[in-house]
Every structure is written in structure tokens, then in C-alpha cells.
Symmetry: C2
Subunit: 325 residues, 2 copies
């Protein structure tokens, strides 16, 4: 139907249901042709018990991919129709062992011809198909197992949104955002300190004028993330990566990574060789990000921040300049 093509995968449920209804309707007429007292919904249970012999409710449920209450109900129906019989397990009083009755065995016998006929009929359909539905479903299930639809959609979303993020250099008009974004997370986990106030209230004086940089991430022209590069004087490290913040509702879009990468590039272009940063181990996603950017734990440096309990460093690799000429 046209609707399915337009609306796509989100309607797969309806499509499956309709196809299944058609098949069930036919199955309902096929069983009597073989003189078999069977309902389509009984079939999976019947098949397992007839092919593999006595089985408990849970074993059947696991094999056919139903919940155990479903099997319990189907088995009850089939017992009422004298197709199955039940018997408590001798060694395990919880188990209810299910097996075919004489009538069930008779059905198993008669149904063999039906299996053969249905298999041939379906094989002919699939042979005529360019895209074998049986294999297609198997393949689809396999690919979803490797990576779920949810995961795949998340990736597409992240990718699409990342393209909408712009990294721009410092501009006084973002001063208020610079403070707000940082204050937000600092006050969530810690308290604002002396050094915070200095840098956040006057970035121009304390960061830019001292040879540092500030980069902003814009989403639809609104600042949603920030990261600063602060010049370190008389220090083994050239710059400190600091004041990194991302708007909470914009997390998970790779903005932090993008800012980090950009700041490192910036440092490189300023001739920096070693970057330094301070953080706290309760900020797990941040530490994770720093590691992803290449930072490793270092020790022994002085810090003015009370909240700092981890220090990290990164050696910037020079680009290897391959000259093909």
C-alpha cells in the first residue's frame, strides 16, 4: 500500500499484522483440509512437543519465543481438546510436563503431509521472489542485534545535529553566556570559588588579554557550549584547557568533543606543545571526554581550585607533513 511506502518503518507493526492476519485466515482453512484439530496459535506449542517429546511449560515458552503464561493458556486449551496431557515432574514438583495424547500423535501423523505441501507452496513463492522474505527477515534481525534501531537513530541524530553546530571565537557579546554556562555546572556539583569569579566576570582581562582563547559552540546561533584556553606562564605546560561547559539539555550531541578538538587545534596553531587541565573525578563524563581527547593523568602541580582532585596533561603531536612533490 502507498501509505507504507510513505510512512516507512514506523508502520512496520501494521504491515506485519496485516500480513499475519491474511496468513492466519488461510491457516484456519488449511488445517481442516488435513483433518487436523488445530488452531494457528496452537501450532508452535504443538510443533515443539511433537518433534521433541515431553517438555515443561517454561522449556516450550523459551523455544517458541512466547511468555510462559501464554504457553500455559495455550496448553490448557489443547488439554481441553485432548491434544495434550500434563503430568507433574517426579523429581521437580514445580515442573508440569506436557506431552501428546493419542489424539495428538494422530494429528502429528496426519499433519506431516501438510508440512510438505505448505513448505512446497512457500518455497515456490520464495523462488519467484527477487528478495527472499525469509532470509530478509533473518538478515534484518541479525543487523538489529548487532546494533539496535535506537542506537542507529541516535547516531543519525547526533551526526545531523553536529552539522548544525558552529564553533566560533570569543566575542564580548557572549560574555553573559560564558558565565552562565559555567556557573550552571559549578554550582550543581561544587561552589563558585575566587578564581571562578575572576575569570567568568572578566574573561577579556583574565584570559584573552593574557594570550588565551575562548571558543563558543553555537546551535542555531545560540551559544550552547564553551571552552577556554588559558595561557600558563613559567610552566612546563603552555596552556590550560579550562572553563569547559555544555548546556545540560544539549548534552549527548558531541558538542564537548567538538569544542575540545577545536581548542586543541587552536593551541597547536599557537605553537603549543603541552596542554594541562584540572578537574574532579566525580565529573565522570568530563574525565571520559578528556581521555578521549588524549589527556592522561599527571600529578604534582599547584592549583588554586579547591574542587580539583585530578590533573591531566596532553602532548600535542605535530602533524606529519607528507610532501608528495
Amino acid at each position: 500500500m502507498d501509505f507504507f511506502d510513505k510512512a516507512g518503518i514506523m508502520t512496520i507493526g501494521t504491515r506485519f499484522r496485516m500480513l499475519n492476519e491474511k496468513m492466519t485466515e488461510d491457516a484456519n482453512k488449511i488445517y481442516p483440509m488435513y483433518n487436523v484439530d488445530m488452531k494457528p496459535k496452537w501450532f508452535p506449542v504443538f510443533y515443539i512437543v511433537s518433534k521433541e517429546g515431553e517438555k515443561s511449560i517454561t522449556e516450550i515458552a523459551n523455544q517458541i519465543g512466547h511468555s510462559h503464561p501464554s504457553v500455559s493458556k495455550i496448553v490448557r486449551e489443547m488439554i481441553n481438546h485432548k491434544v495434550l496431557s500434563e503430568k507433574k515432574d517426579k523429581n521437580d514438583g514445580r515442573k508440569n510436563n506436557i506431552r501428546l495424547t493419542a489424539k495428538g500423535k494422530q494429528i502429528a501423523d496426519r499433519i506431516e503431509d501438510q508440512y510438505a505441501d505448505v513448505k512446497k507452496a512457500v518455497a515456490k513463492i520464495l523462488d519467484q521472489s527477487k528478495f527472499n522474505m525469509w532470509y530478509a527477515i533473518e538478515e534484518f534481525e541479525m543487523l538489529l542485534e548487532q546494533k539496535s534501531l535506537l542506537q542507529r537513530v541516535k547516531e543519525e541524530k547526533k551526526y545531523r545535529e553536529a552539522k548544525k553546530i558552529q564553533i566560533v571565537p570569543y566575542d564580548p557579546k557572549y560574555n553573559e553566556s560564558f558565565k552562565r554556562l559555567n556557573q550552571e555546572w559549578i554550582e550543581t556539583y561544587f561552589e563558585m570559588e575566587e578564581a571562578d569569579h575572576k575569570a567568568l566576570d572578566n574573561p577579556e582581562k583574565y584570559i584573552i588579554d593574557k594570550g588565551g582563547k575562548i571558543l563558543f559552540a553555537l546551535y542555531e546561533n545560540e551559544p550552547v557550549g564553551v571552552c577556554a584556553l588559558i595561557k600558563m606562564e613559567n610552566h612546563e605546560y603552555d596552556f590550560e584547557l579550562a572553563k569547559m561547559a555544555v548546556l545540560p539539555k544539549m548534552k549527548g550531541k558531541g558538542i564537548g568533543y567538538l569544542l575540545g578538538k577545536s581548542v586543541i587545534e587552536e593551541a597547536k596553531s599557537l605553537g603549543a606543545q603541552k596542554l594541562y587541565l584540572e578537574s574532579n573525578t566525580i565529573l565522570k563524563p568530563a574525565i571520559q571526554l578528556y581521555k578521549k581527547l588524549g589527556f592522561q593523568k599527571v600529578i604534582g602541580f599547584f592549583t588554586p581550585y579547591a574542587r580539583c582532585n585530578i590533573q591531566m596533561g596532553l602532548e600535542i603531536k605535530k602533524n606529519i607533513d607528507i610532501n608528495y612533490r
Copy 2:
């Protein structure tokens, strides 16, 4: 799963359900990612109304392939969530026109990104597949529309059973069957006549000894069908095809056609050129069969049978003997 491969198409319902459950679970998590107040089961209704504007309950139901009560309930839920609004049709008081509210329009707007992301995610799965599931289902549906599973299974059954049918020549041990099979249908529709008794009680004398033939159809070595070829003396036609009968519960397996073909072959090998038969038009399947065998209506011959209201004839074509030497 192994179970599906072994048990085949009769478990397609379970397989569809499981795949659908997995997708629905993911869909439930995907909608909130886009800030959209939507349930997977609402989606088809939402899609139609958002893309095509105001629509009545039945129109929606037809387009998305649900029953109208289903749409009625879903719409009620969506109205409670302020996603849709309803309004009686001005010109037709039975109709309930459904459209998006402001909130619904906002959702339609937000969901566009989701469509794009989901489409890309699915496209990547299908591109990786050797058998494209979307096309595969479409193809399968199309092939089932051309000929239903039921029809296909019937054909396979007929073919398999036809192979189990043997056509054998007259043997006195089948005398009782010869009478029973014919008496059965004659007494169902008519009454036994003088000529019936003669032929059925003494086939050897009245048919075989006069240069005629009787063929039996055996199914698992039991006679289930019969047809006689009666020599016609001083007549334009060489033989009469008569006393054709098939056991009622064995109908629909092509036994009649097989007997007819065999009898015609037999006649040909006896040098016959024209066959004749008598019947009654209330026996529609029989007349149908005679036509299929090549008989055509003829008129004006004498008959001893009261039940005869149609006479038919067949000119036997000689095999064209192509000699390649």
C-alpha cells in the same frame, strides 16, 4: 532462531510479533528524544492527519489498514492528549472530522527531524542487506495477492495426492465397488433405473463382453473412482463414456479428470473416433469436467435413461505422428 527455520512459515506470526516488539520498544524511546508526545500505536493516525489534513474516522481507518473502532479509540486517546480535535461534519451529520490541534502541529513540526533520522538509519540497514526486507515483504504480499497461500497449498495437495492415484483395468474383484460408487450418486440426485441395474449388477456381461472397458482409480489400493466405456453398435459414435463416479470424500483431487483422460486414451487405442455421453445439467461439476475433457453438446439421439437431459460428443484427434527420419 532455529525453531523458525525448522517449523517454517506456520510460525511467521510469532516471528513478526517478536520483531515488532523489538521495534516498538525502540520507538517508545525514540519519540522522547525528539520531544514528541507520541505512542507508536498513534503514529499511523497521526501521520495521515498531519500529511493530508482533516479526515473522518473511516477515511483514516481505510488508509492505514485498521478497523474503524481501532481508529475511533486511538483518536479518543489522542484527543485526551490534546494532539487531535474532532468536529461534526456540517454536511453529513454522521461524520466526525479529525484534525491536528496546535500541539499536534507542533509535534508534526518537531517530528520531521525524526523521520529523516529514522529513514537514514533504516536505509543503512537495508543497504547492508542482501535481501531488502522492505521490498521482500512487498513482493511477498504481491505474490499472495495473485494467488493466496490457501490456493497454493490446495494445489500442492492435489498434485501430491494425484501421484498416489493409480488407474487400473477392470477386475471382477471390484464389481461391488463399481456398483456402490455409482449407486451412491445416482440415488443422491435421481433414482436407479432399469438400465442401471443391468449394467451395475453384471458389468462383465453388459460391458466387458460386448467389447467395452471399465477403468478404476485406486487410492492406497482402494477403489475410489470408476468410469466405463460402453461399445455402441450401429451408431454414429463408437463408444459411450458412462458410469463415471468418484467417492464424495475424494472429490477435488482431480480423480475424475484422470479417469476421463485414461478412458479417452483407452478408446483411442481401440481405434475409436467418436465418443458419446449422457448426463443431466444439475450435475454441474460433471458437465464442467466433460467440457474440460473436450466434449461438446450434441442433440437428437435416443436414450433409455429418464434422467438424461443433455447429450455430449467428442471427436478423438489422432496423434500427429511427426517422423524426423
